[in-house]
Symmetry: D2
Subunit: 488 residues, 4 copies
């Protein structure tokens, strides 16, 4: 067969396939695996891995505009997606905040327009539900019909603690519509209480940060989100889980058959809380805080055994001066760091090469599971005929030292500065286009596209996963056999 | 490309790939997915699924010869592998018992010879460790070097309760050699005590069967096997787990990062213990017994969420007269039933179509995971270029009624007699050979082959999985990139 | 010694003492155990038990006046305390609701005055925090200084779901002041959501009652109350716990050293949820609902093993016509029943005589623990020199049939109508006064008194228990040795 | 009343009574509490506590004679009981090992004779079951009939791992007879395996000691003992529990209503494993090893919340030279230390005064619970009319420094040398006789007596506790009301 691109002789790996073979790409898709290929352009992957492009479902590349101000991170879709591409990621999921008074669809449309102008990677948008009033909640089914697959709820933000019942209604509506609801799980009452107490006691500095957002406040919030999910019969996805105790809560829910999915992020598997006591402790602030070694171990075990489903960044980049702003305290520290460009290499180096997780699980938590959960599978998240040619040629032997200055993120520091990391992407393809080579981005901003899960094939995968887990009867296999999921 | 066989337009599914596409088979292997194909022989899979052939790692197709007698099931490799093939299974793992005084290798060689003469499916052999004396244990590393990947330990049989320390030594040796140790987990002391008590009290009939082998005797045996695994730093695989309590023990071990794998079987997800009180209650006897609805639910949840890894038969077929032999009691009932031909259809019908598990998990627990755990992956267990063409064309809409008389097993009854089951294989291919069509076996006995995991590629997958979980460093990726796992 | 009353030759039992001996009472107190006694009045307890008077810390004998109406149960302190006395109870703890706009102290003073006029038993008052505004919360330390030892928070009532942070502040203030905070644990958001859903679906009748207030809504509310307790470093007491799952949450908190105390009540150990499906199902409504047998078993085990601390009624009596009011639904059924007079006999009969709990635990959960937790010990809750002569002569062999018409409660029905119950009080003494004999009350209304825990001795016991559990240093033993707890 | 001894004005405390009052003693018993007393001898306890004498149910004061040698600790009943008396303990439970070929009764009789000649305290004897052959097991019911209440099983010793079924039979016989079975819970297979492995690897020194007997080997042994208890329907008492994980196993069993009692000892609440890495690490060796801080915390929580029932020594004294014997390794270190004289003061100082447990729990775990579990209650373990006058006048303000040279034990070192401890006994009475004053023993060897639980009253308490927990019906209250438990 004649194709646009042939990638030759790589070790092609998904969580359930492994072959030293050739891939044929045409019109942005994978059209042939193995067999005989002629191609316009050839890439030799001998001695390298060929993996599905990374999917990071949790980034902040657009500002939050609220009454009285704007929270603006230092990256936008242009710089952020460049960092992603350089690091082997081909699809992003952006937290999309409505402006005051703005509806969810308006926020999505506005954000999609700006992302389409800037992004190098493909992307989806998670509308953040800041106002669970009936009119806003009523938008959700229409959004799903148009290809959106999620909403995001912050248990600590805004008014969750005063409008819980409305948020529960929203979760119910989202579940009925077929959307997955993302939960930031920390108990707002407890955190605001402890912050006040610590500050009143003369503290409130970085060393107090873990005490201001204790593990039990995460665990109980997770428990409540799960109870809401049981009541609403809706699946939930808990973002950036940080502790063994909260993970245990999720694990027990999964054992009861509840559709509870778990995301963690680099901070919680590569670092522990000791740095908070250093002079620049505020540099490490994230919500939730860094935890202890036992938590780190539990999260690695979860990534390995399957009760943690995705590994995402919560990329929320600042410059160091902003992180270390004098006078800030546990209630006002700027949370988050830049993690996009190093997400995959750090996990590969410390996870796969140091034996904590298998290569299969690496692919699963960085790509396949996210695609399945957010309705993009099998278009994304795998290497399968008909799938988008989102591919990374991965050099498992390449060692580089992490330097913030090498990173496309505009953030001027990295928590991993100076770390030696082995395993980096040599080529990143997005829908068949080479967008980065050896850490250099070569695609133009705006070449990325919004990914709707409007085709039957895409929508099915989410439904299947959810339906399977909530144990309701389904006849989807008949649908599968009648549809052409990879045709569109 | 010109190939021997083309399978056209099926929905090709593995746990991590999904495509409506064509497959090209040559010399018994999958050589091309998608693209352009010419073929000597064509199969149209339109509207059907194409799945990896089933792998049932737990069957009894050879007799147990012990001092003073022989335990002979009614199937041998000829009838058993025919039932397997008719039901969509292409690889079997047979429990291989040494004769008194016979070493493990001798038993394996003898059994391999007879299986090679009879089997329609491919197969591996698990040597059963009945005598953990140093000379026997010392055979294990050599067996692994020759391509065997497992040993089997019965916690209830023979002398586990008097030679525990030696069995622990054997587990250690097996783990060091890279083998996976299968454990039958029930506490022999408790079971023999309770059997005597029940019989002495004038009972001991089928209605007493659950009480004679209580859930806690399974759970505590699983806990002890896991503790042995921690001490020996060796992975274990617990066969035919039956209860929520024992599963919880395993799940907690997995959350600690321990390499504990779990198998369950049809009896424990399709039936509960009520039938033991019926006149023909002995018909349902298996070790362990059927349990309660809460156990059934927990096992389905485990199959769905991932803490149960494989779904196998423990095919141990008898004729009904043997099962109902007058005078038998809880200590002497003949355990086991024929399950091979209906293993996949029943799981598909009640699991996938009724929404308890996804199609992806169906493939994972019936094929992919077993291949990974026993060193056959990616040669077996997936649909990947270079893999053996072990394939099933699956008709998800075909409904049939289970009848023992339609089953290739020589057992004259089925526990599922009369059940309406939807989803059956229409074609079964083993290494590119069509061995069954619409429930009729068309291959000759002896066409199956023993599968050694001697190639680097095969051996790696087991090591990777185990190493990942026991968190030791490994450099396997380099090995992967240097080897050609699919070439041989 | 010459005393007012001698009780001769009974088997005198507390959780940690047991003797066939004589008791000497003078001026309302126990002044001598054993030895030689002359008395003005003699009671022969040969063949009977002599136990500390029962303490029921959870009753509703005063109406709730809210905006737009009054919730008025059919008993007041006169009828309620008579039922208590007839059933062997000598101290009550009444839930005391402020009127709209009324402060806690005003509500307590008002209620105390009316109770002092009516009550036959002694009593304490738990102020219910319906408005956690700073001014109201600021009253708490003063109330504790005056001898109150508790506050009550309803997680389902009023505004817990909109003012959680203020309730957490209140819990903190209460803990700092030395008070114990009672929590009704059910998640208000979930319950209101499910009630609406069930009613909208055309249901909402008694058969839906369990589904409208599911076990997980209790368990997650308990988890959140416990998390609040950790943040506030305050002890909590969870009223009327009903389920195994919620009990497990509490048990795990206790194992972490957290001061979490648990109360259950007759409904949850004597009945299961089946009656809700009967035509008069609404008769059985309580908050939370009756549960399943596994919950009943878990609560009995908790009463026996010590992780359930008290057994109280939540006496909330209605007439049957009110319970069965036509048109009521899951959101409006009248919760609660009359349980005071049968509390102890039913627990003795089904708990002690049927072997579920020991006699020692019977005394502990019906008397001693409540006295310790609410600052009344050792004045109440034991048989010790200097203690109030609150005593019950208990006939362990007396069998009676429960009849609502024999009960001093004005409620016109009993859920236990017709049950044969063995073990009844023959004499009830309150501070040395015989107040009931063979089920007949002989004391005058108003003879009961409010019990403040103002003496050092009383206050200490609460502090000790709490301090021990929250692991802060204390020097109370020195205080004990310097004080004379039983003198005042 | 005229009595032999009056103890005036102490704060008399049991777990359920508390009074500043006088006690009257006559003929070795408590005959009057409060009231008017004339006495031959007076003791002023003003400002002090009066507590039940301590009961340490786990001591080694008689040698173990086995084939090929004798294990002889440095204390016998004379020195051991002197240390006990000086430390406030009035009753001991001694592990009584049969000689090779000797039956249980013969061993008990022989040991009783020597103890009666030497002991200052009262005592019971736990026969150790080293040979569970039918003839030996058949002795058990007769022993119980004669007033013995226990047997001891070592899961690590001798032949548990080869004769498990016989030990299970023994447990069943013991349970049927009404005896409590003590279990030393560690898995012998795992420990011997790890010891060999560590020694073979060139280690095996004190620093390896924790690794040689890991926590999971204790937890799984506890799980198995509990499973045996379920099968045998017999209560068990797990000696010297050391870890959070094993405690969790027990706690879950208790929550299921199983009669599982837990003992811990000073080593596990006062020390952690760090000292094993010091040059004299072998000094700290006990079976099981010292654990980590999380284990210490869990045991304190268990002592406080009630899932640890007793606090005993496992007093097994050596001289330092024996502990530090050159050439010893993890398989041969001499386990155990002298703890009798400091058992109560250390627990009071670090437990009660530092707020970890209440004074009530102190009495419960050091006296009352042991008496109840071993059939001595209410004769022992409380301060009740008719009870033995086993009393300690306890000075809660007295501070002393621990010195081995001040200890009656012949062991020449103390792990607590130099510790400042507050709270010591000033007077110890055993059956009304003053046996120690201010740390000086003043009674003669041989004044102590064996305590049989032959009276109905004593036997009942054990039965009650067990029956309550195993949930079988009982009619004991009738028996109580007909018997005179304190008369005999």
């Amino acid at each position: 067969m004649h194709v646009d691109i042939a990638i030759r002789n790589g070790t092609v790996v998904t969580p359930a396939t492994q072959a030293v073979t050739d891939l044929g790409l045409r019109d942005g898709r994978i059209v042939q695996i193995g067999g005989e290929l002629e191609a316009d352009e050839e890439f030799d992957a001998t001695g390298k891995l060929v993996l599905p492009g990374g999917i990071d479902m949790h980034v902040h590349l657009t500002p939050v505009e609220i009454e009285g101000g704007v929270v603006a991170w230092v990256d936008d879709f242009e710089s952020g997606s460049a960092a992603a591409a350089a690091g082997g990621i081909t699809t992003l999921g952006n937290m999309t905040f409505p402006r005051p008074g703005e509806g969810l669809r308006a926020a999505l449309d506005r954000t999609r327009a700006s992302a389409e102008a800037q992004s190098i990677t493909d992307f989806v948008l998670h509308p953040v539900l800041l106002d669970p009033s009936p009119a806003v909640v009523a938008e959700i089914p229409g959004l799903v019909a148009d290809g959106h697959s999620s909403i995001k709820i912050f248990m600590i933000a805004g008014d969750f603690d005063t409008r819980g019942r409305e948020y529960l209604d929203a979760l119910h509506v989202a579940g009925q519509a077929g959307a997955l609801t993302l939960f930031h799980c920390e108990d707002g009452c407890i955190i605001s209480f402890l912050c006040e107490l610590l500050i009143a006691a003369g503290g409130g500095g970085p060393a107090d940060y873990p005490a201001s957002r204790p593990i039990y406040s995460e665990a109980v919030a997770a428990a409540r989100a799960i109870a809401f999910a049981r009541a609403a019969e809706a699946p939930i996805y808990i973002v950036h889980l940080s502790s063994a105790e909260a993970l245990e809560v999720c694990r027990e829910a999964q054992a009861k058959g509840l559709p509870v999915y778990v995301e963690t992020r680099p901070l919680y598997v590569h670092l522990t809380s000791e740095p908070f006591s250093e002079p620049d402790g505020a540099k490490y602030v994230g919500n939730p805080p860094l935890r202890e070694q036992a938590d780190v171990d539990a999260l690695w075990h979860g990534l390995s055994a399957g009760h943690v489903h995705t590994f995402c960044t919560d990329h929320a980049p600042w410059n160091l001066a902003e992180k270390l702003e004098p006078g800030a305290n546990v209630a006002t520290f700027k949370p988050g760091v830049a993690d996009l460009q190093t997400l995959l290499p750090l996990l590969f180096s410390r996870g796969v090469l140091e034996g904590r997780i298998s290569l299969q699980r690496f692919v699963e938590v960085t790509s396949t599971n996210a695609a399945k959960l957010f309705g993009l599978y099998p278009r994304k998240g795998t290497i399968s005929v008909g799938a988008d040619a989102d591919l990374v040629i991965w050099d498992p032997e390449r060692t580089r030292t992490v330097r913030a200055e090498d990173d496309y993120s505009r953030s001027d520091f990295s928590l991993y500065e100076g770390w030696e990391v082995t395993g980096w992407p040599s080529h990143t393809f997005r829908r068949g286009e080479l967008i980065a080579r050896d850490g250099q981005v070569i695609a133009r901003p705006g070449s990325g596209a919004w990914m709707g899960c409007t085709s039957t094939g895409c929508r099915l995968s989410l439904a299947v996963l959810q339906k399977a887990l909530i144990a309701s009867a389904c006849s989807w296999v008949r649908l599968v056999s009648q549809s052409a999921p990879n045709a569109g």
